[in-house]
Symmetry: C2
Subunit: 244 residues, 2 copies
Amino acid sequence: MSKVYLVGIGPGGPEHMTAQARAAMERADVLCGYTVYVDLVSPLFPGKETYSTPMTRELERCQWALETAGRGRTVAMLCSGDAGVYGMAGPLLELAEGMAEVEIEVVPGVTAALSGAAVLGAPLMHDFCVVSLSDLLTPWERIETRLRCAAQGDFSICLYNPASKKRARHLERACGILLEYKSPDTVCGWVRNIGRAEQSSRILPLSELREAQLDMFTTVFIGSSATREIGGRMVTPRGYEVRP
Amino acid sequence: MSKVYLVGIGPGGPEHMTAQARAAMERADVLCGYTVYVDLVSPLFPGKETYSTPMTRELERCQWALETAGRGRTVAMLCSGDAGVYGMAGPLLELAEGMAEVEIEVVPGVTAALSGAAVLGAPLMHDFCVVSLSDLLTPWERIETRLRCAAQGDFSICLYNPASKKRARHLERACGILLEYKSPDTVCGWVRNIGRAEQSSRILPLSELREAQLDMFTTVFIGSSATREIGGRMVTPRGYEVRP
């Protein structure tokens, strides 16, 4: 069998993996992925062969997975969160174009929008957008357009990759754009290191989020106009039924 | 202990549940939820007490869960997909306002946007919006505004609740709005009964999606302008790196 599983492992701990994700890794001959994820997962499968590459080598890793599967070995490619949300499912399916002999199965997982939302309360209860602030593969103008549209639609917004060393001020710029449309009191929140021992989080207004110094291990949530803080949680009402 | 777990069980089968979701249900004294979900899950926990109510009784069920937890019993409230995406986390946290004695923990799960995307390929690889077409709790005008904003932002769009007996023409109306902004050739897809034995799916252009007769068990995906069909899968490129 020539097969690549694209496995979303969730935020990292074994408790966040689905049974299907675990079974796919169990069935694989080799686990492949970004070094950090391979190191997280490999203790669960003692003796299993692994192949890891640094973060910037995604396409090389996909190529390796397809070639390895082409030689009849079953590969599980690990992605944090969900393989289909800023993960490896897209690039791998693109690279596999025309390689009918390799079967590709996407195994979904809990992406940071969901695991982070659970930490904060229920910020994504109603319609929402997910936007990455990374301009490595996307022109900043397109990111800005999407932020404007998300704000005009009064969506709850989840931001991935809010900052890094190279894009230290992206979150500030994004909040500045959102503040053209949204109240500075809009309820927002962030979660860092979701699901890990050092997890931290905070709920704060949009005006303060603009000044926050966050990093690439953080996921950010911006409420709709209906989002409220209730008992220390960030909650976007699903409808109007609970209000008195 | 007074505790309510809000448990996202994923699309339904035990293979889609996280270990954390299973552990929460194991620890609970009683499993509560919409009849269909309780019936799906209860065989995994023989002898466990259950409390189920029909679909329209959500608030009653939340009230029951809080009262039951208030009497010292641990309740697991089951939600399909993720508890925080059109689920029970919002209403429960709203109703629990001021009830400091009841601890509420949201346990995330794989929502239909992710499980359906995995079936089709990788339609949500880049920025995306999730919009429900149900106007039970949301005025249609607001849904329409969000569709327009999602289209103007060139997001990939995932539609929940595309149709039901009472809203048979909502999908047609939504596609009509999107066609004001998007090409009729935009790559779209739908998945019905995700993760179940009778699962079915199709990839089709937006012009044909408009005519599709779907039901409430279906999740719909509408591509961005970059989305392509590759080897029978729906793929939204993550960036520009793979293109020659």
